[in-house]
C-alpha cells in the first residue's frame, strides 16, 4: 500500500519541489492516466504494464504542454493563481472523462497476477502485485534521485528551485525547465495511474479522494524530499494497516492521526529537503 501512496505523492513532491506549485488536479491526472491506459489496452489488446510505454510519454508530453501553455502563465510571487488554475484543471479533467468514458467504474485487467501471492508463513502472504508496486516505487525514486543529483538537468532543477532569478541569470530557461519537471512528474503520475487501475476500480470522479493520501505522504516525508515521500507513503500505509487491525473503522483515521502526529512533532516532515 505504501508503495502506491509514494507513487501518488512523488509527482506532487516533484512539482512542489521545483516550482513551488501545489497541484490540486494531481488526483485527477492520476485517474486520467488510468483511463489513458484503459484506452490503450482496449485499442491494442496489450498488457496494461506494456501500455506504460505509450501512456508515460503521452502524459509527459501533456505535462510539458500544460506547463508551457498554462501553468507558466500563472506562476509568480503569489501562490494562489496556480492553485486555482490546478483546481479548475481538476474539474475540467473530471468532466471530460465523464463525457468520453461515461460514469462507468472501470478497471485494468492483468489476469492471474492480480491474485497471485507469495506465502511466507502459514498466516502471512504477500501479494505479488503490491510487491511489484513497491519495488517500482523504489525504482522510480532511485531513478529520479540519479536524475536530480547526478545530471546537469538535475543541477538546473535544483538551482531553479533554490533561487529562480539567479538561475535565470546563469542562462537557464526556467519556463522550459518547468515544462520538463512537469513532464517528469506526469510520467510518474502515469505509472501511479496504471497501478491504481490494476489494483482497483476507477471512475472519473475518484481523483480528489486519492489526492489527500498523496498530500499526506508528501507532508509526512518532508516537502520536496524524494526518499521522504517514499517513507511518508510507507508510514501512511503501515499506520492504516495497524489501525485496521485494532478496528476497521480506525483504518483511515490511523493514517490521518500518523500524519497529524508527524506534523506536531516534526512540522517540517521526517526528511525536510532544505531549511529555507
Amino acid at each position: 500500500m505504501g508503495g502506491l501512496y509514494a507513487l501518488f505523492a512523488t509527482g506532487l513532491t516533484l512539482i512542489f519541489g521545483v516550482m513551488r506549485l501545489v497541484n490540486i488536479g494531481h488526483g485527477d491526472l492520476i485517474v486520467l492516466a488510468a483511463f489513458l491506459g484503459l484506452a490503450v489496452v482496449e485499442a491494442t489488446g496489450i498488457d496494461p504494464f506494456l501500455s506504460l510505454i505509450i501512456v508515460v510519454p503521452v502524459m509527459a508530453a501533456l505535462g510539458y504542454g500544460l506547463q508551457r501553455g498554462l501553468f507558466n502563465l500563472t506562476l509568480g510571487r503569489d501562490i494562489l493563481p496556480p492553485l486555482l488554475v490546478s483546481f479548475g484543471l481538476s474539474i475540467i479533467i473530471q468532466n471530460l472523462l465523464l463525457e468520453i468514458f461515461s460514469a462507468d467504474s472501470r478497471k485494468l485487467q492483468v489476469g492471474a497476477l492480480e491474485t497471485a501471492s507469495i506465502r511466507l508463513a502459514d498466516n502471512l502472504a504477500i501479494g505479488v502485485l503490491p510487491l511489484i508496486v513497491f519495488l517500482c516505487a523504489i525504482a522510480v525514486i532511485l531513478g529520479l534521485q540519479v536524475v536530480f543529483y547526478r545530471t546537469t538537468l538535475g543541477r538546473a532543477f535544483r538551482a531553479t528551485s533554490d533561487d529562480q532569478q539567479t538561475a535565470q541569470l546563469m542562462g537557464i530557461d526556467n519556463r522550459h525547465l518547468y515544462g520538463l519537471a512537469m513532464a517528469i512528474a506526469l510520467g510518474v503520475v502515469a505509472i501511479a495511474g496504471i497501478f491504481l487501475g490494476v489494483r482497483t476500480n476507477f471512475d472519473p470522479s475518484i481523483g480528489p479522494a486519492r489526492l489527500i493520501y498523496a498530500f499526506e505522504a508528501v507532508i509526512i516525508g518532508g516537502l520536496g524530499s524524494l526518499w521522504g515521500t517514499l517513507a511518508g507513503g510507507v508510514v501512511l500505509g503501515v499506520a492504516q494497516s495497524i489501525g485496521a487491525k485494532l478496528d476497521p473503522g480506525w483504518q483511515l483515521l490511523a493514517g490521518h492521526l500518523a500524519f497529524l502526529a508527524v506534523l506536531l512533532i516534526r512540522p517540517r516532515g521526517l526528511f525536510p529537503r532544505a531549511y529555507d
Binding site: M1, L4, N95, L98, S102, A103, D104, S105, R106, K107, Q109, G111, E114, T115, A116, S117, N123, A125, G127, V128, L129, P130, R199, T200, N201, F202, D203, S205, I206, A209, Y213, G237, Q240, S241, A244, K245, D247, P248, G249, Q251, L252, L253
Partner: protein, 429 residues
C-alpha cells in the same frame, strides 16, 4: 434612406409580432378542437447525470425518448389532449444540489408532478422540497427505510405529498438468506459494512442484518465499520479467516469490493457464497473483477425475465432491455425498468386526474394508483407505511458466458414465485 428604413423595419416587425400574438390569442379562444392547445403538463425529473451516482442515470435519455414516443401528442385527460413536457435537472450526485434544482423545478418551471429516483441521496432532498412546497412527488430506486426514516418519517402519520415504491431491508435479508440456504456452508457469515448511511442501516443491531440472521441459525461476524474508499482490507480478511467464515455479505461500493475480493484471493480466503449489495449492481463493476466475479450474488429488483409489461408501450421487460441494448450497445441494467415505471405511473396518474392544474387533484389520483407496470403491480395502501408500496425482490448470481461477458441469472425466487428462476444457486469455485 438608411436612417429611415431601420427604425421603420423595427416598428413593422414589432407590429407584426403584436398582430401575430393577437391572432394567436383569437385562435386559442375559438372553439376549434383541432386548433385548441391545452395547457402543457410539466413533469419534473431530477437525476444524478454526473458525479459518482451517474451510472444510475445512464439510461435517462433512452427512457425519455421512449416515453416521449409513447405519449406522442399528449395525454388524454378528461377528453382533452394535454401535451406533456419532461423537465430534467442534474443533481450532480450532490444532495444539496438536488434540493436546489428541485426548488427550481417547483418555483421556476411550475411543474405538475415531480419524479425522482436513484438512491436516497437524490430521492430524499427532492422529496423534502416537494413536501415543503406541496407538490406531488413520486419516487423509487431507494430502499424504503432510508427514504422514510432518514427524512424523519413517522410511521403513524407518514408524508402528505411524497409517495414511494421499492423494496426494503427486510426483503434483501430474506433474499440473501434464501440464497445461502441453497449452498451447504457452516453458516458463518462475515459482514462488510461501511461507515455510511447504508452500512449503518445494514449493520444496525435492531433493524439490520444481525437479528434475522441469528433467527435462521447464521452467525454474523462484523469486524466494525470501515471508511469508504479503503485501500486495504487485510484486517477484515484475517478476521473472517479466523472465524472461518464461508459466506460474505455487506453493502460495499464497487471500488472497495474489487479491492476486498482481490486481496481475499491473494490471502487465500475463499468463501463459498458472497452476496453483496450496491457493488454488484452494474455489469461493468463485475467485469472489473475479471474472471473472479463468477457466481457472486446480489439482489435483483428488475431483470429482462421479470414477467411484467409496460402499461405505456406494452413492451415486456425483456423487450425493454433488448431495446436498450439495441439503442446503446450496452448491457441492460436494473435501473432501466424502474426509470421507465416512474413515467408509467406518472402518465397513469395524469389520466385519472379530475382537475388538472390543481396539485391536490394530482396527488389524489396518485394515491389511488393501481397499475401493473414493467416492474410489477404498484398500489399504495398495503405497504409498511402509507406512503410506501413494495415491488418484488429476488436474488441471483453473475455467471460468465452468455450474450455478455457476465449475465445475471435469477437463482432464488422464494420471495416472488411469479418471477422465474434462470438457474440453480452454485457455490463459488
Amino acid at each position: 434612406m438608411k436612417k429611415t428604413r431601420i427604425p421603420s423595419t423595427k416598428g413593422l416587425s414589432r407590429r407584426t409580432v403584436m398582430k401575430a400574438a393577437g391572432a394567436a390569442a383569437l385562435a386559442s379562444a375559438l372553439p376549434f378542437p383541432a386548433l385548441a392547445k391545452e395547457r402543457v403538463i410539466k413533469l419534473g425529473y431530477v437525476s444524478p447525470q454526473t458525479g459518482p451516482l451517474a451510472p444510475f442515470a445512464e439510461a435517462d435519455n433512452f427512457t425519455f425518448d421512449m416515453v416521449k414516443k409513447a405519449i406522442g401528442d399528449g395525454v388524454q385527460i378528461g377528453g382533452k389532449t394535454h401535451p406533456v413536457e419532461i423537465v430534467v435537472k442534474d443533481s450532480q450526485s450532490n444532495p444539496n444540489r438536488a434540493a436546489e434544482v428541485a426548488a427550481d423545478l417547483i418555483n421556476g418551471d411550475k411543474i405538475d408532478l415531480m419524479l425522482v429516483g436513484n438512491t436516497p441521496e437524490t430521492t430524499n432532498p427532492v422529496g423534502d422540497q416537494c413536501e415543503v412546497n406541496e407538490v406531488p412527488c413520486l419516487s423509487s430506486l431507494a430502499p424504503w427505510q432510508p427514504w422514510f426514516f432518514t427524512r424523519g418519517g413517522d410511521p403513524a402519520k407518514g408524508f402528505t405529498w411524497t409517495y414511494h415504491y421499492f423494496w426494503g431491508l427486510e426483503d434483501i435479508i430474506a433474499v440473501f438468506l434464501n440464497m445461502w440456504d441453497k449452498v451447504p456452508t457452516n453458516k458463518s457469515v462475515g459482514g462488510l459494512f461501511p461507515n455510511d448511511g447504508d452500512g449503518n442501516a445494514w449493520g444496525d443491531a435492531e433493524r439490520g442484518f444481525p437479528k434475522p440472521l441469528a433467527a435462521k441459525g447464521y452467525t454474523l461476524h462484523d469486524p466494525g465499520r470501515y471508511q469508504n474508499l479503503s485501500d486495504d482490507f487485510s484486517a477484515q480478511i484475517s478476521a473472517f479467516k479466523k472465524d472461518s467464515c464461508e459466506i460474505v455479505t455487506g453493502v460495499v461500493i464497487p471500488p472497495d469490493w474489487t479491492t476486498f475480493w482481490k486481496q481475499a484471493k491473494q490471502q487465500g480466503f475463499a468463501p463459498k457464497a458472497a452476496s453483496i449489495g450496491k457493488a454488484l449492481l452494474f455489469p461493468v463493476a463485475i467485469e472489473a473483477l475479471g474472471d473472479a466475479g463468477n457466481n457472486l450474488s446480489s439482489e435483483i429488483w428488475w431483470s429482462p425475465s421479470h414477467p411484467f409489461k409496460s402499461s405505456l408501450t406494452g413492451m415486456s421487460a425483456g423487450d425493454l432491455a433488448g431495446a436498450y441494448t439495441a439503442a446503446t450497445g450496452k448491457q441492460w441494467t436494473q435501473p432501466i425498468g424502474f426509470a421507465h415505471s416512474l413515467f408509467e405511473v406518472a402518465v397513469d396518474t395524469l389520466k385519472r386526474t379530475e382537475d388538472i392544474g390543481d396539485r391536490k387533484s394530482v396527488l389524489d389520483a396518485l394515491t389511488k394508483t393501481k397499475l401493473d407496470t414493467v416492474v410489477g403491480p404498484i398500489a399504495w395502501g398495503s405497504g409498511p407505511v402509507k406512503n410506501v408500496a413494495k415491488t418484488p425482490l429476488v436474488g441471483g448470481q453473475w455467471r460468465l458466458g452468455g450474450q455478455f461477458k457476465y449475465d445475471l441469472v435469477i437463482t432464488s425466487n422464494e420471495t416472488a414465485t411469479n418471477i422465474p428462476v434462470g438457474g440453480d444457486m452454485q457455490p463459488i469455485a
